[in-house]
Symmetry: C2
Subunit: 189 residues, 2 copies
DNA sequence: TCTCGATACTCAATTATATGAATAGGCAGA
DNA sequence: TCTGCCTATTCATATAATTGAGTATCGAGA
């Protein structure tokens, strides 16, 4: 029930097509919600039926036509309403954590490998987010931008994403090291 | 498809009833997965049908009877198999982040309030996890426990939970401050 | 020229999660 | 004694998310 609001929030920054939204939901926007393209198209169609977003066709020559969407006044009001009611707590849900939970009862080689891959993926994401933050705040420094910038929402969620990725990376590296040392020291499995 | 593995991993530490598991999934275990009681009962029934866990009835006098479950050899093997295949990336999905993304286009009063509630909830969770970690490692210090402890999986996932909650708390407080200052300074809305 | 990736979207089917309501006895506090 | 919470579980329904397949055109590079 919250994807609709994530889409509305993402559309606040301008007009996007389903395809562009899908891209955004794979990088920046993924800091607060994640969704596959199919879901987004479905959700946009629903939102349009309900009058919360409005779409317009854009005819293109050298590539398929597309439909750009923007938030309507009703959509804005819906977001406003949504912001007022209680949020459900946020949970971690992660396959890799499940594997670590079981770590000393199963073979750890593959888990260690996956921890390292995750750390590397986090590296890439951290760099990406760093660039995104820079682009969002322009010349201003962070402090000043947050005080006076006119659109700080996306910046704030990126900050969360960045801190999440940093912590995740650090944890992955540490756990990989811990499990690795245990493997080599008491030569189990 | 991963709840089953989360349940198996949680059951590695002994026998639990559905009810006890549900409790665990509300605190410690929630560091790697979250689920409602109904889901757990359903999952346990499925796992039992497939022979991955075994249940036994325990008759009680002063309260309802219960069924305790343990992981079978087949269950262990299934976990082993699961640990080997690729994990899907972990995503944040959080109502409150959606609200922050929209923050400067909607009224912020309620969002600020929710950020503060979240921070307070994180405080409580942090304390809880701190105690849990202490209980898990006993007298040893962390370094030593991680080197020589015989069951470190749950400890490692708790560490992740702790770091997640700490970062979350810090972010909530900072964002609440930023939004609060903007409200008071340019008296918008 | 042929393949491959990017743009742009749709449809169907399945699986996973969440919501809501019920049952039922014991025990603690007002 | 009445109220409500804790233990312990089940059933049904609804919503959300994932998986898989498919369509069609353009432009770049082998």
């Amino acid at each position: 029930m919250a994807l609709r609001h994530a889409v509305l929030a993402a559309l606040l920054d301008g007009e996007y097509s389903g395809y562009q939204l899908a891209k955004a939901f794979d990088i920046g926007v993924a800091n607060f919600w994640h969704a596959l393209p199919q879901q987004l198209y479905t959700e946009l169609a629903k939102l349009e039926r309900e009058g919360l977003v409005a779409g317009r066709q854009v005819i293109q020559e050298s590539r398929p036509n597309k439909r750009l969407f923007r938030v309507t006044d009703a959509g804005q009001a819906e977001l406003e309403r949504f912001a007022a009611d209680v949020s459900k707590p946020s949970f971690i849900r992660d396959d890799l954590l499940v594997k670590v939970q079981a770590a000393d009862r199963i073979g750890t080689a593959s888990v260690i490998e996956q921890l390292q891959e995750r750390a590397a993926a986090a590296d890439a994401k951290i760099e990406l987010l760093g660039e995104l933050l820079l682009r969002l705040r322009g010349d201003a420094d962070e402090e000043e931008f947050l005080r006076t910038g006119e659109r700080i929402g996306p910046y704030l969620t990126c900050l969360r994403g960045l801190s999440f990725e940093r912590e995740h990376r650090q944890w992955c590296r540490r756990i990989a090291a811990v499990l690795g040392e245990r493997r080599s020291s008491h030569a189990e499995r």
